[in-house]
Symmetry: C2
Subunit: 217 residues, 2 copies
């Protein structure tokens, strides 16, 4: 047998990444950061956390080297250390969803009634043939940090007001952050209630990027 202390040290090092992923708040911050770099203040507001609490969690993520920071004046921007981190995050959620019945329950409670989904392939095909309008319903800054080519930014809060911009005779496909983002679900429910034909991308920008599909900036 190899040296016990050295083995413990190695596995404790692996556990640092596990520990970073061991809090719902941190996972929510990661979910936001995965959409593009954000400041501490913006992240705290989006995740509805106190500034110091958010900062403490971000420090934890930073010490696990899952995120890196960039300073610009008084602001500090956090972004993912790499796409391997996004892949790990996505796999964690998939495993949780596949293994834990409570995740399915919580997901259904959060996302609401299921709406019709289209796959990434179907979306690409619809865009190519001009048969659908693709809208990005995330906040504008996330769209700016990278979006599906051809998609129009229509943040969910503006959707009802900007309905006229969307062709009434065409299907609308909405997408947002990822498989557990509520925005596209809300968008489809809103559009359907207003008499439009709408569907949502089954997952979102996170999975799109991980599938190495083209991203526009």
């Amino acid at each position: 047998m190899g040296d016990r202390d050295a083995k413990n040290a190695l596995f404790d090092q692996f556990a640092r990444v596990g520990k970073a992923l061991a809090s719902g708040k941190r996972l929510e911050l990661l979910d936001l950061i995965a959409q593009g770099e954000r400041t501490v203040d913006a992240l705290a507001k989006s995740a509805e956390l106190g500034l110091t609490t958010a900062s403490a969690h971000l420090q934890t993520l930073k010490q696990a080297n899952l995120v890196v920071t960039r300073r610009e004046g008084t602001k500090i921007f956090y972004r993912l250390a790499g796409d391997d981190v996004a892949a790990l995050f996505a796999l964690l959620r998939t495993v949780a969803d596949d293994r834990l019945p409570d995740v399915r329950t919580a997901r259904e409670a959060y996302l609401g009634d299921d709406t019709e989904a289209v796959s990434r392939e179907e979306l690409l095909e619809r865009v190519r043939s001009g048969r659908a309008t693709v809208i990005d319903v995330r906040p504008a800054e996330e769209y700016a940090a990278g979006h599906i080519p051809g998609a129009v930014s229509v943040p969910l809060d503006e959707l009802a007001d900007r309905l006229a911009e969307l062709p009434a005779d065409q299907e609308v496909v909405a997408y947002c952050r990822g498989a557990y983002c509520v925005l596209s679900h809300d968008a489809v429910r809103l559009l359907t209630a207003l008499g439009r034909t709408a569907r949502r991308l089954a997952d979102g920008m996170l999975e799109w990027r991980l599938a190495e599909l083209p991203v526009a900036v």
Copy 2:
């Protein structure tokens, strides 16, 4: 914005999986369980943990549904809930290794001086052309639970005694549990010290299985 409580509940559910992965001891248990089902007692001994401590950690893994149990008489066998869990575990280690310099340090300290490695493809090619003898240096019960086709079980403890079984004019390729398993490193160092030509598989059975290469039982 969606319902805050529901969103917190969802992310806290995801975090259950993270929490399960947030301990070096549990990761070591997972590493062992990934090689095939084992009893609590066997796992406690292999990981050098107290029985109740091991049981408590196994309960944690079980409550996260990363492992499942099977009873046989008085014994309870733990095994992985699925290969998705193995993939998550492997990705966690890869990300940790790529991101945390301390992991590299701890790995080098544990595995010792680096020995020459062959890729999975090279191993397959060498076996096919009969140019190498492949030995599985894990404990016999792990070999029994599944091994590389054509490999011979020579647990590390028996290697020195069973040297005569290995053709002296052929290269030996040793493999063990995975990329962070010390056994194949020790085997190569031992064989080289005894004048044999030996190399090790770059990773191990965990990665072999995840690559969906054939497994013999």
